[in-house]
């Protein structure tokens, strides 16, 4: 029994890091891609068309539940547990990696809160997912800045999480490989954050 409990901890942790990349990370990329449609000259039309394509994915509710909600809830709730059991000593040991370790957990919590509110006001608001709906939401300055913070936090958490994932799964072993991956993931963060922010700004322009 004790043995079973021990190995389950290992498995739960590994599933947590895996879920963060596949499928939650992949979904984040897809979501940012769809949002970016709003930046086109005829943004409203392009975005509504992209949403329409998603609406016609076969077994949509099944896909949504098993490939997005379930892994997302697991990654989020277990992540809160991880953030709670971690110690924080970046004040005493202010090395870059230790600060990023702390930021990973802080952005995780921000993203967790952000996603709940974001889902509440969009997916579960009962309104049709259109450009107009998002436009009305981001027209509120408080909501706009909330979205900006949420997107920056989520993209950082994803990019920095990729770096950590590569170590957890034994992909990047040497110090040089880890340094290169750190630089690459920070570039990924900047690019994804820019794509996300750009889309939010695009939604503020009326259709």
């Amino acid at each position: 029994m004790a043995q079973a409990q021990q190995s389950s901890q290992f498995l739960l942790r590994r599933l947590h890091t895996l879920a963060g990349v596949v499928p939650v990370g992949l979904f984040l990329l897809e979501h940012l891609f769809t949002n970016a449609m709003a930046t086109a000259p005829n943004g409203a039309v392009q975005f509504n068309r992209a949403v329409d394509v998603i609406q016609h994915i076969p077994l949509l509710h099944f896909v949504e539940f098993f490939f997005i909600f379930l892994p997302l809830i697991y990654h989020g709730v277990y992540g809160l547990y991880v953030a709670f059991t971690s110690g924080y000593n970046a004040g005493q040991y202010s090395w870059t990696r230790n600060i990023l370790f702390m930021l990973q957990r802080i952005t995780g919590i921000i993203t967790f809160v952000f996603i709940i509110f974001h889902l509440w006001t969009t997916r579960f608001s009962g309104k049709a997912p259109t450009f107009q709906m998002v436009h009305e939401l981001v027209s509120n300055p408080a909501y706009f800045w909330f979205m900006i913070i949420g997107v920056v936090a989520a993209t950082f958490h994803f990019a920095n999480g990729l770096w950590s994932f590569c170590i957890h799964w034994g992909i990047t072993v040497g110090a040089r490989a880890q340094r290169v991956t750190a630089a690459v993931t920070m570039v990924i963060f900047v690019v994804l954050a820019a794509v996300g922010v750009d889309a939010i700004v695009a939604f503020t322009h009326s259709a």
Partner: protein, 256 residues
């Protein structure tokens, strides 16, 4: 004040030491001023306090206790928190430290008294991951397989770990809410898994690393590699063991 007097006044060492009388009592700080000796280290300061146990104001106090052994950074006994970083007191030279020098016990471990801590948990961790090479048999087993020189060279680096505990002290995930065995133990598992004879018990060490407080508790803050006095590539060891454990876990599951 004459130039000589200033010179004499300057040639002292100011220490602020966090003390604790017994494992359950409250910590408190005391300040000490000891005469400066060229080339002195923190141990020399503590010896001076022991020789003349008076605080900064000349009031007699109980002498400060600490642990030491080799005095050449190969035993790990004198690890303590010096100016906010865990390190060996023997190689902490006063000339290279900012004064006042602040000494604290490594509170990741239970404090026995003053700067003396109980590092039993590290030895329990070594037992858990079987950090040894079984060579005994009921008959002469003969010589083991040879180790490739290129592997011996990096494995030697790992073998320099002296269980001082600096990596545990700096690790944010070694705390009262986790049972993480610590970076050093993961590196030792890698060392003994690399040894040609040690390899014969490879799976047992991997199972232990997947057990309670194992490798999954690492959060990649990478403080360990920064504070290791021997410059052991602890984060490389952790990633290398992550790779071994991942393959082992997937392989074991597919074999069932």
């Amino acid at each position: 004040m004459t130039a000589t007097a200033v010179e004499t006044k300057r040639k002292t060492v100011h220490l602020i030491i966090e003390r604790q009388d017994n494992p359950d009592s409250k910590p408190y700080t005391q300040e000490f001023v000891v005469p400066y000796v060229p080339g002195m280290n923190v141990i020399a300061c503590l010896m001076e306090i022991q020789r003349n146990p008076v605080d900064k104001d000349g009031k007699p106090v109980a002498p400060v206790t600490w642990e030491m052994n080799c005095l050449e950074e190969i035993c790990g006994a004198c690890m303590m928190v010096i100016n906010g970083k865990p390190r060996q007191a023997c190689t902490s030279l006063v000339d290279q430290l900012e004064q006042p020098i602040r000494l604290k016990p490594a509170r990741t471990f239970p404090v026995v008294r003053d700067l003396v801590v109980d590092r039993s948990r590290m030895f329990d961790a070594l037992k858990k991951i079987k950090a040894w090479i079984p060579i005994d048999g009921t008959y002469d087993l003969g010589p083991g397989p040879r180790m490739p020189e290129k592997d011996r060279q990096w494995a030697y680096e790992l073998s320099r770990c002296f269980t001082c505990g600096a990596c545990l002290e700096a690790c944010p995930n070694v705390n009262e809410r986790t049972s993480f065995i610590g970076p050093f133990a993961i590196s030792q598992a890698r060392l003994f898994n690399e040894h040609p004879t040690g390899q014969m018990h490879r799976e047992e060490r991997l199972e232990a690393l997947m057990g309670e407080g194992g490798i999954h508790e690492c959060g990649n803050a990478q403080n360990c590699v920064e504070v290791c006095p021997k410059g052991i590539p602890l984060t490389t060891s952790i990633a290398a063991m992550n790779r071994q454990v991942t393959w082992h876990a997937i392989g074991a599951w597919l074999k069932k």
